[in-house]
């Protein structure tokens, strides 16, 4: 059974938390009326709650260790998902099933569900785009949202000023973002990991602040309204129809992105990115142009963000700078890390969890973001390498007679 020592430890932990949360949880002052409310009941809840939680955490840890030691005996029990991903006879039906589910989604669920699923799928694409930069090439980008903003504002402004349609702007938004990626990337990509992180963060903020302050250009904080939804051969659509239509556009984009990202990862370029992540100096000594290779990764990621940005503007029908804060970059980065860096399936799972979670946590009303933050921490603590870790495809050589590269897990 549970040893007494652990109970004592839990008691100590609960005492500590009672102390820790004392000023914030217990005391509430009204500085005007000069009244102090002492909410001692909160202290009791905290002490009791942390006692129970610490016991639960301990039990969980013990079980995890047991499982780990059992695993060692069985040697490399691969996670189910990896085994499925490796076996084509499991993988293909699964992909088809997922796709069928994706296609029939708007018919099975309400408009609201379709709408948030559209958002989630947009983040899948954003996550996959950032994954090229962070997960594959190993460049920590905290200002990814800047490129997203460029895409969104491209559509909003080109539509407002030149009356350009969604389909025309879609590639333009992506290209503009990629172009900006090159401009920014050129001077800063030689910076080391965390310095690059803060510079990209700063860049993201600069873009947002310019959009906020340069009224003549972007209409400032009040934003641009009445952006048309994508047209479908000039047909007028109901709101629900429009949502469904955008859902399918995004779904197609997701499929294209997965296809492209997958191809890129398994190419000469993809190998170079991986190598760059592992050892820059060795890479250069192998004749890989560090700056150029990084720049390609950076601007490809930006391209995708710009793409989704255009979709974002079309879906929301309104853009203002409030949508492009640092928190947004942090969420997209969390998708990549939480899902499992460099893993396509991981990013998809990560995006679905992180974007749908706050929506389904609405039931918790004001505790929503509290729970979100806690879940982020807990997931990282218990699965630091991400939900789906390191399912990298690697080149395997089959047979000496027919030297042909077959791609396997």
């Amino acid at each position: 059974m549970f040893p007494v020592k652990e109970l004592k430890r839990s008691a100590l932990i609960s005492l500590w938390f009672a102390f820790l949360t004392f000023p914030i949880m217990v005391i509430k002052v009204d500085p005007i009326e000069r009244i102090v409310h002492w909410r001692w009941d909160n202290m009791f809840f905290i002490a009791f709650g942390s006692f129970v939680l610490s016991i639960l955490a301990k039990v969980f840890m013990i079980q995890k260790e047991r499982r780990a030691s059992r695993k060692k005996r069985k040697i490399a029990a691969e996670p189910l998902i990896q085994r499925i991903a490796r076996e084509p006879r499991f993988l293909y039906p699964l992909v088809v099933a997922c796709f069928a589910f994706g296609v029939s989604f708007p018919f099975l669920f309400s408009t609201y569900q379709t709408n948030i699923m559209t958002t989630a799928l947009m983040y899948v694409v954003l996550g996959l785009g950032l994954n090229i930069v962070v997960g594959v090439a190993g460049l920590l980008d905290l200002g990814y949202v800047a490129f997203y903003a460029v895409g969104a504002y491209s559509y909003a402004l080109l539509n407002l000023n030149f009356d350009m349609g969604f389909w025309a702007v879609l590639p333009i938004g992506g290209l503009l973002a990629a172009f900006l990626g090159v401009i920014l990337g050129f001077p800063v990509l030689r910076l080391r990991g965390d310095y690059l992180a803060i510079v990209t963060l700063g860049f993201g903020e600069i873009i947002r602040l310019v959009l906020e302050n340069w009224n003549a250009f972007s209409q400032g904080p009040s934003g641009i309204a009445n952006i048309p939804r994508p047209g479908f051969f000039g047909m007028e659509m109901t709101f629900a129809g429009g949502i469904t239509y955008i859902y399918y556009i995004v779904l197609v984009l997701v499929v294209i992105t997965i296809f492209v990202v997958n191809r890129l990862q398994n190419s000469r370029l993809g190998r170079a990115w991986l190598a760059l992540r592992e050892d820059e100096i060795a890479c250069q000594a192998m004749g890989i142009d560090k700056t150029k290779t990084k720049l390609i990764a950076f601007s490809l990621g930006a391209f995708w963000a710009g793409f989704v940005g255009v979709l974002f503007a079309a879906k929301t029908t309104f853009v203002n700078p409030a949508s492009f804060t640092f928190l947004e970059s942090a969420i997209i980065l969390s998708i990549v890390v939480l899902g499992g860096m460099g893993s396509i399936i991981g990013v998809i799972v990560g995006a679905l969890i992180l974007i749908l979670l706050p929506e389904y946590l609405r039931a918790l009303s004001e505790y929503r973001m509290l729970a979100f933050g806690a879940i982020l921490v807990i997931m990282m603590v218990f699965k630091p390498e991400g939900i789906i870790s390191n399912v990298r495809r690697s080149y395997k050589f089959k047979g000496t007679n027919t030297p042909e590269g077959e791609i396997h897990e």
Binding site: V96, V103, T111, Y112, P221, T238, F239, A322, E366
Partner: protein, 376 residues
């Protein structure tokens, strides 16, 4: 073969999708569903949460009386973090849940993003705080109403007051770079320039949440401004006012509805003395206003926050309109809102054809002995 099948499936699904376009209307329910949407977490939560509390109190009051036409009022509270993209999700969720009327959203941007969705679904929306003029003046949103004055109306009041009453000659227009503050500041600048009686010596934004506002205050001083018109909310206003006092600067400080909030006086303390702010007509004599504030103090043991009275009034106006219309149909509610006058904490109001409240009336206030009093 497989990809061919996929393609066919996709085409089939797409065509089906447009053919059906899935109308998900709220079924006739036995409750009146009042949606409350706005920022309830994140940096702007302090402007959204008071609205939730106002709605809770009004609904509790109605339900205690037995509801509307025998139906209980049910609250659907949804967070939009003041972000447009989340607001569309919020709106879609409310519409899918069969909401009848919506109190919200809080920020103009989020409101603009959400309105087309409500319009399509035939839902009346009333905001306690979205002041962007375009919301009512563009004519795009027949389902939109508000219990707060639009930016241009407020700016006009402020500028008239500054020029005609105070006699300002050199005015510094400062804003918080936000949707509300900057919009208002731009109108103020425009009106000052049009009047020709005073000049704008400074037009600048401050960063909300910055640790220090010394530099902007020194700049106001250097430009020789005799008056500051500030567009924004009370946190920044109180920081600037305190800094002005600290720097021994003598200027008249005029601000807006976002500052005409008791929290401003509490936070700025004695530095608030002499600050002017525009706001709805004096309603301290209005028993409904006292009642609303007392209800809040009783229920939450603290003073109400920003836009509380506007939200309280909006909730009353919405529920009253449903009661008078005897239906939750959009056109009927709109008609009731435009014709039926209702007693609220901000006055006896109804709404004009564009959706702005009539009867709210705007006045200038000044802080005197720790209280806002109307300038006669």
């Amino acid at each position: 073969m497989q990809s061919g099948l996929k393609k066919k499936l996709l085409v089939a699904a797409l065509s089906l999708g447009f053919a059906m376009a899935v109308p998900v209307a709220g079924m006739a329910s036995d409750t009146i569903k009042l949606g409350v949407a706005g920022a309830q977490s994140g940096d702007l939560a302090s402007y959204g949460l008071p609205t939730v509390k106002a709605a809770e109190l009004v609904v509790a009051m109605y339900n205690a009386k037995g509801g509307i036409n025998g139906k209980k009022v049910e609250l659907l509270i949804e967070d939009d973090v003041c972000k447009p993209e989340v607001a569309t999700n919020t709106a879609t969720k409310l519409v899918t849940d069969g909401v009848h009327v919506v109190l919200g959203h809080i920020c103009s941007g989020a409101t603009k993003a959400a309105l087309p969705i409500y319009k399509e679904a035939g839902v009346v929306v009333m905001s306690p705080s979205a002041t962007n003029p375009g919301l009512t003046q563009s004519g795009d949103y027949p389902n939109f109403f508000r219990t707060i004055a639009s930016d241009d109306a407020q700016a006009q009041t402020e500028v008239d007051f500054a020029i005609n009453v105070i006699g300002s000659k050199k005015i510094a227009v400062v804003h918080d770079k936000g949707d509300y503050g900057k919009g208002l500041a731009e109108f103020a600048k425009k009106f000052i320039e049009e009047s020709g009686k005073a000049e704008v010596v400074l037009f600048e934004g401050v960063t909300p949440g910055a640790v220090d506002y010394t530099a902007i205050v020194q700049k106001i001083k250097r430009k020789g401004a005799d008056t500051v018109i500030f567009g924004g909310y009370h946190p920044e206003a109180s920081k600037i006012v305190s800094m002005i006092k600290k720097k021994r600067l003598k200027v008249t400080f005029i601000s807006d509805d976002g500052v005409k909030d008791d929290t401003f006086i509490k936070v700025a303390g004695k530095n608030a003395e002499g600050v002017y702010a525009s706001g709805p007509n004096d309603n301290s004599a209005n028993p409904l206003s006292t009642e609303a504030i007392d209800a809040h103090k009783k229920a939450y043991k603290e003073d109400p926050g920003a836009f509380y009275e506007n939200a309280y009034s909006a909730a009353l106006a919405l529920l009253n309109a449903i009661e008078k219309a005897g239906s939750t149909d959009m056109d009927a509610i709109v008609k009731a809102l435009q014709t039926e006058k209702v007693d609220t904490p901000v006055g006896k109001i109804h709404f004009d054809a564009r959706g702005d409240a009539v009867g709210v009336g705007f006045a200038m206030y000044v802080v005197k002995d720790g209280k806002y009093v109307e300038v006669k």
